[in-house]
């Protein structure tokens, strides 16, 4: 598994020679050790990468394993993305679906049949246990989906056999059959039309694994290695994982797409944001996962660093439980929307890392309705509306705040306090409530709250991924427990029509209905920051908040 790349940092080489010299002269290990210590400290023979072609990314955590089918966390997806491909992919830095292992695809008129034409001459990677004898073909596609879908697949139960994402995307219900037409054509038949289906296949759970590798491991009696020593068709080959420390990849020389510009890719795992930043400043890594908001100013001021920022594919909100009085009255919900000063929350809590939200989806997503006018902060008007609704003196309510920091909400408690103060001015006495995180979600789902903060991070770039799980009637346990027929008809219809233009119209209308009915006080779409060394070029941030390094280079 040794990389074919030679990396000989000059400073390190010098100090090593000195150590060997000491070794020859004196056979006293303690002295060698002390000398090495002093040398290492003084010479610092440990500085950043000496050769431009090793790229180190300071990541935030350890992957659970090396198979995205089995996981739901972004950390694990990031660790797997260099190795694997999917049938389709998201364009670099966009939410647009582009060809990957499938060169093209056709959908039938009724939206039930999708035929994928696979790419030829796609090579599989190799490792010490496996040397591929054939290229990627339809058998691999069938294997990868059947592993997640069918009990009868010999790999279904391997590594715990939990395919939560596959189930979350409703695949077991949606898929009727997957057939191999020939070695390079695969047909997916659905039980009902589903417009976001192709976008779903660009998500990490739809990774394609090698059937030949699986068969070889079965023969060896070590099937679980498929999820620990991954073989894929992606731009980088997996080299080594040192638990909780580093993941090492090297560029795959037979990659079918544009070859990576770097030779070696390393994920250096550091949970603490201040340590990650310190490593970045010391050039021990060239890019680092999310910094603390408090460090943003100093990062901007550092001329060795660049800070990329982009609104995340997320939404943070305060949901009003429409099943409970007084929030069953739309006037009360609108009044709440007017009573809270959104700008103050953005300034005080998001500190420049938030974009005020007026729609459920972020503005980077297609079908965003920019014509919707957000409710103005107007306590007098709010008070008037409350009086009309029969609450001239306000009312008492609870206001739930999550106990944890989330990508879309940096400090729910603080936001809760600001909201509480604003609401008090219109006579609404809100009591802040919190529970342990698991308990919190469970209770919100059960509808125990009156008002609760929560949010969402999208994962397939399709508006359906926001509009349905957060507010449709079918979404059991959505935070506002809201079921509006007009809105529901629009979003259900939009998921069925194949034309994006048509879908856009429907979603735009849905946003107007949601604005009028106001089941949420929409807070913000948080901005995601990515600090890197100034010599990093060719990197584009993904709207999904994921990371990929196939095009990155160091100048």
């Amino acid at each position: 598994m040794r990389g074919g790349i030679t990396r000989r940092p000059e400073r390190g080489a010098a100090s090593d020679k000195i150590i060997q010299g000491v070794n020859l002269d004196m056979s006293n290990r303690v002295i060698i050790a002390s000398c090495a210590l002093v040398l290492a400290a003084v010479v610092g023979g440990v500085a950043g990468p000496a050769q431009a072609k090793t790229f180190v990314y300071c990541s935030e955590g350890s992957p659970e394993n090396f198979n995205p089918m089995l996981n739901t966390t972004g950390t694990t997806f990031d660790a797997n993305r260099p190795v694997y491909d999917r049938l389709v992919d998201f364009g670099y830095g966009t939410t647009e679906v582009v060809p990957a292992l499938a060169e093209k695809w056709d959908a039938s008129e009724d939206g039930l049949v999708f035929t994928f034409h696979l790419r030829h001459n796609v090579k599989w990677q190799s490792n010490k246990n496996f040397k591929p004898t054939r290229n990627f073909n339809a058998d691999d596609v069938l294997f990868s989906f059947e592993r997640q879908w069918k009990d009868s697949n010999p790999y279904h139960k391997v590594s715990g056999g939990g395919y939560d994402y596959f189930s979350d995307m409703d695949m077991p219900k949606l898929l009727k059959s997957i057939d191999k037409i020939d070695d390079y054509t695969v047909r997916f038949v659905l039980t009902q039309p589903n417009a976001p289906f192709v976008a779903d296949l660009a998500m990490d759970f739809a990774t394609i694994q090698s059937k030949e590798y699986a068969d070889a491991l079965t023969k060896m009696g070590k099937p679980e290695l498929i999820d620990q020593e991954p073989i894929g068709t992606g731009p980088f080959e997996f080299v080594q994982y040192v638990k909780d420390a580093t993941i090492r990849y090297r560029a795959f020389k037979d990659y079918w797409g544009t070859k990576p510009k770097i030779d070696t890719l390393v994920y250096s795992i550091n949970k603490d944001p201040s340590v990650r930043l310190a490593k970045l400043r010391a050039n021990e890594c060239q890019m680092s996962f999310g910094p603390s908001p408090a460090d943003l100013l100093s990062i901007r001021a550092d001329k060795n660093l660049t800070l990329m920022s982009q609104p995340g594919l997320n939404i943070g909100y305060l949901a009003m439980n429409v099943q409970k009085k007084p929030f069953d009255d739309v006037r009360v919900r609108q009044a709440i929307n007017m009573a809270i000063d959104k700008k103050a929350i953005l300034d005080a809590v998001y500190q420049g890392s938030g974009l005020p939200a007026k729609n459920l989806i972020p503005p980077t997503m297609w079908s965003y309705n920019n014509n919707v006018q957000d409710y103005k902060f107007d306590p007098a008007a709010a008070k008037k509306l409350l009086a009309e609704a029969g609450y001239p003196d306000g009312f008492e309510t609870d206001l739930w705040a999550m106990p944890v920091q989330r990508p879309y909400n940096p400090d729910a408690r603080r936001i809760g306090e600001l909201m509480q103060a604003d609401l008090a001015k219109v006579g609404v006495k809100a009591k802040i409530v919190s529970f342990e995180w698991g308990e919190y979600r469970k209770r919100v789902q059960a509808g125990e709250h009156m008002m609760a903060q929560l949010g969402w991070t999208g994962d397939n770039g399709d508006p359906d991924n926001f509009f349905v799980p957060l507010a449709a009637c079918s979404a059991k346990g959505s935070a506002p427990h809201w079921c509006n027929k007009e809105y529901d008809d629009l979003v259900v219809q939009a998921a069925k029509v194949p034309s994006q233009a048509e879908r856009t119209k429907l979603y735009m209308q849905a946003q107007v209905v949601m604005h009028r009915e106001a089941p949420f006080f929409l807070i913000a779409h948080s901005v995601v920051h990515l600090p890197m060394r100034s010599n990093v070029v060719g990197y584009k941030m993904s709207p999904f908040g994921t990371h990929r390094f196939d095009y990155v280079d160091l100048k």
Binding site: G3, R7, R8, P9, R11, G12, A13, S15, D16, K17, A33, A36, L37, L39, A40, A41, G44, G45, V46, A47, G48, P49, T54, E64, N65, T72, S159, G160, G162, S167, D168, V239, Q240, V242, K243, D244, A245, T264, S268, I269, N270, K271, D272, S274, V275, A278, K279, A282, E284, R406, F435, W437, G438, E439, R441, K442, G455, W456, T457, P469
Partner: protein
Amino acid sequence: MLRFLLRRVTLIIPTFVGVTFLSFMLIHLVPGDPIEVRVGEHGIAPERLAQLRHEFGLDQPLWQQFLTYEVQLAHGDLGVSVVTRDTVWNEFTTLFPATVELAVCAIIFAMVVGLPLGVIAAVRRGSAFDYGLMGLSVTGASMPIFWWGLMVILVFSVSLGWTPVSGRISDIYFVEPWSGFMLVDCWFADEAGACASAWGHLILPMIVLGTIPLATIARMTRSSMLEVLNEDYIRTARAKGLSVPRVVVVHALRNALIPVVTVIGLSVSSLLGGAILTETIFSWPGVGHWLVESIQRRDYPVLQGGTLLVAVLVILVNLGVDVTYSFLNPRIRR
């Protein structure tokens, strides 16, 4: 001697049971379970939640879970991580060498620096050196590791750029984990500079982790030496005309070391505690770092198994200390 050992070993069994019971109860008192902690806003289907809870035995009453766990332990099975699905034993043995490397270097550093300092302070009792050293050692012993660790990173790594920030070796080196000890494995990497890098990465965590034991050892050596230096036989040795170094090193230090050995032995348990913080600050991929992660993930098997293994170690080290002590001081064997 045999009876003494036997008595000590028998005491280990109830200690194990106590440790497993405590670690089991404490983690179960923390709200949230391993499966719910991993579920984000996307939620989890109730059937799937029930299936997973069943798979990990979380649907059983607590007492039954504890009994099952004890039986499993009696069979030598520490369980499987809820998150990675790897066995706890495998994960522990992969990460343990890193912790041992750090702890051993830290204690060696503490002894190499602490013993001479203590001896000098005792010999020059009442001097400025003595007062200065004792003042510093109080500061050292009361230094919070997380603060001290971040301070040395800020000064030596960020401001001065002398040492690397975190990890065990620079990410540019590819080292096969042959023994798990980076200082050993780096010799087999055919890349120049790997070992210098490994030492460079070790220096700060070693100093940070070694600070408390260093302060304790220096203080203990000093007071123990003072006691011994006042003994009659030392006066006799001096009266015989022996040189001061000979009196101090051969006659005094050997006897003064008895309590110091105990202190060193006892600091092993505090070292393991300190390692948890040090490893977290320096992203040192060892057992401490792993245990902290397991708390956040509510990975019950890892936390329980890991705590137990660490407890076993502490008990064994304490036993080792007792045995060594009994050699140094035969009176204790009775």
